[in-house]
Symmetry: C3
Subunit: 143 residues, 3 copies
């Protein structure tokens, strides 16, 4: 069994942003040499996520606008207080909630060295609290 | 290590629908011969999902009604415009959003050849933009 | 390939509660002897979930309060009726809906015998219908 784990860095540019990482995932799968197995994708941050959806700019906007509607940045949150462990006020409860609603991971099967998904399924790193330097993991497991 | 990947076809019959696919998943696990490992279930479409919940018609209705409340089909979406790549108007942003909120995959452990889950956990293919011919994947990995 | 599956019992103490199970997951990973692979965490109940987020009491409250806002316990649900299979009224549709929105599983890579995640990512068992005796699974797969 082959196992390959890659941590990738990402600099997001906006407060909220969907960054298409599909080609990164495909590259890691190809480089792993795994022919049959699975690929796991995970964010390393609680105010970000991994989302699978269609690669259309209009839909990317709809997703971010709608998550903001369901989990607004502004709100009467318990997290809006001085946090000793941070040395500052908490302010990003909305980003944490978006992360939970949108999800923090994805996986796909691998067959004959290729990711099994439809052409229209794209894999996104979702930034909810940027711009920030971010990390995400791609793990390939298989034979 | 055994790896078995099956793509299944599904014809949904309503615009929104939860189709119980638990017995399909069980069949694929049994046919794989895998005794210990895991089973992954994924939809191949961005306007559908995979949901794990209880097999009661009243709850199935509640789930669909509630997702419609949280991500209505009717809305002021950016996707509601002429899409060159489609050759028509986008209209199903609500279905894309439901897919993100409800999730697009599930997995369960396999032990002694059986899926490890409680009796009440059923696995559903969730249609948010039907009726359509759909595909989903079941992958079994293990020994 | 090593596969280790552990079912853990949990007694929740409140109607809604986030129980930090990170140290349990770490213990099972260490005891498995797996150096490289993945760990899967799943709830066995349809009115509970598995959530990954930061270990701050203020955020834990925000998560539960916000899920209650998005999927209230009180509502005009189809599930609020006499259920023959239960021998009583259904009443917990809101808990089922929270389970779907928050998700029912998580996974992380394992490298050099340790879970790959950031320090701030904690793993929670989410109770939405307690207090109850609950079960969840931790599965370690790898070499």
């Amino acid at each position: 069994m082959k196992i390959r784990l890659v941590k990738l860095e990402l600099q997001t540019r906006h407060e909220e942003e969907l960054v298409d990482i599909t080609s990164e995932v495909e590259r890691v799968v190809h480089e792993s040499g795994v022919q049959n197995g699975m690929v796991n994708i995970l964010t390393m941050h609680n105010t970000s996520g991994i989302i699978v959806n269609e690669g259309l700019p209009c839909l990317e906007m709809d997703i971010l606008v709608h998550l903001e509607k369901l989990a607004p940045d502004e709100g009467n949150y318990h997290h809006n207080r001085y946090l000793e462990s941070y040395g500052r006020l908490g302010y990003n409860a909305g980003a944490h909630l978006k992360s939970i609603l949108g999800g923090v991971h994805a996986f796909f099967p691998i067959q004959n060295g290729e990711i099994v998904k439809s052409q229209r399924q794209r894999i996104y790193f979702a930034e909810y609290d940027g711009p920030l330097a971010r990390q995400y993991c791609i793990q390939v497991i298989g034979t």
